[in-house]
Symmetry: C2
Subunit: 189 residues, 2 copies
């Protein structure tokens, strides 16, 4: 084992993890390839041995970040309405807004995605559909209109976190998250 610990992960994986972190906090245009490679402890020029463009990396980031974020917010054994409650509670949380928990790209990149190329937008669409299906499935036994509820609930969660992140007032952020949490919970009672 001649290499330092930071090289245990292969380079491509390190670039991807750095990209998740940086894109989620500063958006596509707020991060340069140099920033990402520096964070991954590599040099700028090496980027193109792994990805053909910045947008290709961005598109790859979305599903990986989404899976990581949702996995971190539900326990493996929970299901049904309980799982949805748990997800709402962990999603609409200031620890998520400040990104000390794995950030959901559906919320933190929602506006950012609209201006990018086809591949990025379809990656976003797929991640959204996956999340909506998860919610729909867990609610389908209890509600006939579970698909509508899943869409609306997800929109409220994404909107709540995105607004909370945009706003520069901790009190407002807290009130907003609590309001969405309470109303969201009431939708599945």
């Amino acid at each position: 084992m001649p290499w330092p610990a930071k090289h245990k992960q292969n380079s491509k994986e390190r670039i991807l993890q750095s990209a998740i972190k940086l894109f989620s906090s500063r958006g596509f245009d707020g991060v340069s390839i140099g920033d990402i490679m520096r964070d991954a402890e590599l040099t700028h020029g090496g980027f193109y041995a792994h990805f053909s463009s910045k947008q290709e990396l961005y598109a790859k980031v979305i599903p990986v970040a989404a899976r990581k974020s949702f996995r971190s917010k539900v326990s493996p054994e929970s299901s049904g309405k309980e799982m949805v409650h748990e997800l709402i509670d962990h999603y609409l949380d200031s620890k998520h807004v400040d990104q000390s928990k794995p950030p959901c790209p559906l919320a933190f990149l929602v506006t950012d995605v609209a201006n990018r190329e086809e591949g990025v937008r379809s990656a976003y669409r797929k991640a959204f559909n996956k999340a909506a299906s998860l919610l729909d499935k867990q609610m389908s036994a209890d509600f006939p209109d579970s698909r509508n509820k899943a869409f609306a609930l997800l929109a409220m969660m994404v909107g709540g976190v995105a607004i909370a992140h945009a706003v520069d007032d901790e009190e407002l952020e807290k009130s907003l998250l609590e309001a969405c949490n309470a109303v969201g919970a009431s939708l599945i009672e």
Copy 2:
């Protein structure tokens, strides 16, 4: 009246209107000062006679665009729950998502705002508070928890429109808007 019609509005106002249109559709980094000035039929260098920086213009755009957007979505004579219903219906509409109706910066710029300077974020916060207060006030006679409902409803509206704009699938966009519309309406029944 020696000047062409396009000069009826003064330059500053034309710059502001071009900025509303371009920022809403392409975000802060997707638009250059040259783009804005070209759209306003002026030249790049003249910009700084009216605004001291791009971010200052961006901060000024937010309240003006928000007022314009909300005004276009409610009739002057409506009030109470009826007004909220009307607003929900016009907000969660594909004509709003495709920006053929005046776009709401709370939705189209929500992610974009987080990375900017103080003045931009506080402009966003103020516009959000104004919209939330409007909803709260119209619902306060009918609901004891009107503030919570106003926050959650606004988050759902903003999230719904932002996601619909990000996604590259018209069917999904339509389903999402309808779901938010239905669930939003059910919150104020």
